[in-house]
């Protein structure tokens, strides 16, 4: 056979076989993964890692067979609808919703490391810390079910997060419940590994109900169920002041450029999002710090000083473990990109009260600070009126002449005629 064709045939055959074989062995049921980076950083021994895995399985089940304790407040039927492999029955009832719609980005464990994650900007959300950006509640509080429902239903503009509004109501409810399930599971994992840090080398974690449910799970579940109590009101004392719009915008502009609100630091003097962008969000910050820790350890190993050979061996092992975890279980850190406010695109909702809440509490998990009271009764950086002035100014930016000169000129020409 012609050599060129032979080479081509071999090449394509090998690549094709490799592609298909990559799928082989994936027939085993998917499993939840632990946060190996955090476990490596905390230097949790392998036996205790297995303990964590066993405890989590007992408390939350598996991706194909989930389980929830009553203390979580979750609806197991809704969770089960989203769990498991993709299927539907003769009546159109679907299961495996999470695997069909979400897992390819958010990952089986909800760690934001699905197969497509590396190619997406911004990265898919990692639910495990219980931190969510766009919500109606105080900064540190959990999102309400309605907040999650909104994001699932409407999607997030400018990102790969689709709108699932075409799905039946019950499926949206199920997906929201499953996100809460994964988030709670992730938070329990973090608390478990923290609990292990408090133990001495000889001690073993005692998986008692008192520890697992009363001390770890219940506070987490309560933070979710109490989210509704932390909604930032936009009426009463927080209502928009009676003020002429032009005056409010002018005041807001003043605040935008003042050191008090300091918006220009990140959003730039033109509000184009071209200010400082060297900060990380919480998810990337954790990975960045892990990388710094690793580099520090490597530097120490290169110049061990008076370390004993056992200490050096231990350090080398720690380095190898953390290095492997970062290579296989993390995405490259990315700095947080401030919003270009002149586009008129607001990811958490474009209603004035949405922006009010965004400014009041900031955006949890990101460098965007809140300018409202950090807790009820405490003074904020800005007063309520000032926050609304800022809202009016930001909402006016896309219509500012500098944002769209041609439209402004056409408007003037028509008026002149």
């Amino acid at each position: 056979m012609n050599r060129t064709l032979l080479n081509y045939s071999w090449f394509t055959g090998c690549v094709a076989l490799l592609s298909l074989l990559t799928g082989c062995g994936q027939g085993s049921p998917p499993q939840f993964r632990l946060d190996t980076v955090a476990l490596a950083e905390k230097q949790i021994p392998a036996e205790q890692v297995q303990d964590i895995s066993n405890i989590l399985e007992a408390m939350f089940g598996t991706p194909d067979d989930p389980f929830v304790l009553p203390e979580t407040g979750l609806d197991l039927n809704l969770v089960k609808m989203s769990a498991g492999p993709v299927a539907s029955d003769e009546f159109g009832r679907e299961t495996g919703l999470y695997r069909r719609h979400c897992a390819h980005c958010h990952g089986t464990t909800g760690d934001g490391m699905g197969p497509t994650a590396m190619l997406l900007n911004p990265y898919p959300r990692d639910y495990r810390r219980g931190i969510f950006k766009f919500k109606s509640t105080e900064r540190a509080a959990k999102p309400t079910t309605h907040d999650l429902d909104y994001i699932v239903r409407e999607g997030v503009q400018g990102t790969a997060m689709p709108a699932f509004g075409l799905l039946p109501e019950v499926q949206i409810k199920s997906l929201v419940e499953y996100v809460k399930y994964l988030s709670m599971r992730g938070q329990v994992e973090i608390r478990l590994s923290d609990a292990l840090l408090d133990l001495s080398e000889d001690e073993k974690l005692q998986p008692t109900r008192e520890l697992l449910v009363d001390e770890i799970l219940t506070p987490i579940a309560e933070s979710w169920s109490a989210a509704g109590d932390s909604i930032i009101p936009t009426d009463g004392d927080n209502a928009r002041p009676e003020m002429e719009l032009a005056a409010s915008i002018a005041k807001g502009q003043e605040l935008f450029y003042s050191t008090k609100a300091n918006c220009v630091k990140c959003h730039g003097f033109g509000a184009l999002g071209d200010g400082q962008s060297t900060d990380f969000d919480d998810w990337s910050k954790a990975i960045d710090e892990a990388h710094k820790s690793l580099n520090g350890d490597i530097a120490t190993l290169d110049d061990p000083g008076e370390m004993t050979s056992e200490e050096k061996a231990e350090l080398a092992q720690r380095i190898a473990r953390l290095s492997l975890a970062l290579d296989t279980d993390s995405l490259p850190p990315r700095t947080a990109k401030p919003r270009n406010l002149r586009q008129g695109i607001y990811r958490g909702g474009r209603a004035p009260y949405d922006l009010y809440r965004r400014f009041y509490a900031g955006i949890n998990g990101t460098p965007m600070p809140g300018v409202g009271p950090p807790s009820p009764g405490a003074p904020g950086t800005l007063t309520n009126d000032e926050i609304w002035n800022l809202v009016d100014y930001v909402l006016s930016l896309p219509y500012d002449p500098i944002s769209s000169p041609p439209r402004q000129q056409q408007h003037v020409s028509r008026a002149a005629l």
């Binding site: 056979m1 012609n2 060129t4 064709l5 081509y8 045939s9 394509t12 690549v15 094709a16 592609s19 298909l20 990559t22 799928g23 082989c24 994936q26 027939g27 998917p30 499993q31 993709v86 299927a87 539907s88 003769e90 009546f91 159109g92 679907e94 695997r99 069909r100 719609h101 897992a103 089986t108 490391m113 699905g114 197969p115 497509t116 994650a117 590396m118 190619l119 997406l120 900007n121 911004p122 409407e154 999607g155 997030v156 503009q157 400018g158 990102t159 790969a160 997060m161 689709p162 709108a163 699932f164 509004g165 075409l166 799905l167 296989t328 995405l331 990109k337 270009n340 586009q343 695109i345």
Partner: protein, 346 residues
């Protein structure tokens, strides 16, 4: 026309083969729709449908029931239509064809349809995504095979004459390379569509980059073959038509590929400076998303089939050209082709 060809005049094998081609393409569409809409497990048993014999499942439930059931059960029913046509093709080949090669081709076609059906059935019974991947690759391969059957049973194949232009052997080689690349693209695309649950970010990225790399290679080869066909065989419509179609299809496919990505994942982050990109967000299960992805799959199969058609025709002309150059020798093999297939070229 040679005396052997005169004996093989019955048009029926060709008609059945063309019917097979025409029936297989919609099958690929429907199969693509099964995956796009997540209907692969809408019917959990096989070969029955919820306990009913495939043909006895209540048609009202099928037609007016859930969409996924409609697609999946419809896919199976249509598969039986393709199977019937393959039986018809085999029967006509046994009845009308003296050439053993063509009878074997028809038998392989029937075995192919049955095999594909079994693959689909096993995918369901074992709930195995890898089998879905393979099923998704065998379908287009069978489509290309059906095209081969239609081409070699055609009167034009029998009546073909050696081309006047030079360089037909190069066209043949290019066409074969394009066919191989098109098949590889389908395999890579199948991996991207049927992501293993445990796939890591690096796996998908690698497959995607490969998919894009091969797309560029495919486009370059198609551009080259179109150029060479138009330059050296402008009057040879038998080559010109499929080459031109390939050029149009690859352009369409690139656009569909980009559209599929945007419909599924939105615009890339570097485009966030453009307002339309910053404002856009995909809508899950929208008609646009479904149509874009499914059409991309179908056009990929069409590219494979068209390149196969072009390769077969180029091979035929190349063989005739070689024969014309050496009257006393038997048909010179331009490829190391099995003897069975060389019968087809006579």
């Amino acid at each position: 026309m040679n005396p052997a060809a005169q004996q093989l005049e019955s048009p029926w094998p060709h008609r059945w083969a063309v019917a097979l081609v025409c029936a297989t393409f919609p099958m690929i569409w429907i199969g693509g729709l099964v995956t796009t809409t997540g209907a692969g497990m809408a019917v959990p048993d096989w070969p029955n449908t919820y306990g009913y014999n495939l043909f006895l499942y209540p048609w009202q439930t099928w037609v007016f029931g859930p969409w996924k059931l409609f697609i999946e059960h419809g896919h199976r029913l249509f598969g039986t239509v393709v199977g019937m046509i393959a039986i018809g093709f085999l029967a006509s080949a046994l009845w009308c064809q003296k050439r053993a090669a063509l009878r074997w081709l028809a038998l392989v076609a029937l075995v192919g349809v049955i095999g594909q059906g079994i693959l689909g059935g096993m995918r369901v019974r074992m709930n195995e995504v890898t089998l879905a991947q393979i099923h998704g690759c065998v379908g287009p391969a069978f489509f290309a095979f059906a095209v081969v059957c239609a081409v070699v049973t055609s009167s034009r194949w029998r009546e073909a004459e050696a081309p006047t232009g030079a360089g037909i052997a190069r066209i043949e080689r290019l066409a074969v390379i394009i066919t191989l690349l098109a098949m590889l693209q389908i395999v890579l695309g199948s991996f991207l569509r049927h992501l293993p649950t445990g796939a890591r970010p690096g796996d998908f990225r690698l497959a995607l980059w490969f998919h894009l790399f091969v797309a560029v290679g495919l486009w370059a080869h198609i551009a080259l073959i179109t150029f060479r066909v138009w330059r050296g065989f402008r009057d040879e419509r038998w080559l010109r038509a499929p080459a031109t179609r390939l050029s149009i299809l690859i352009l369409l496919q690139v656009l569909l590929g980009l559209g599929t990505w945007v419909a599924k994942y939105g615009f890339p982050g570097w485009m966030s400076g453009f307002e339309f990109a910053a404002a856009y967000r995909p809508t899950a299960d929208s008609i646009g998303q479904v149509v874009m992805a499914t059409t991309h799959v179908a056009i990929g199969s069409l590219i494979l089939a068209t390149s196969t058609l072009l390769a077969m025709r180029a091979w035929r002309l190349s063989s005739l050209a070689a024969l014309a150059n050496s009257k006393s020798e038997p048909v010179r093999r331009t490829l190391n082709t099995p003897k069975l297939l060389m019968e087809v070229a006579r």
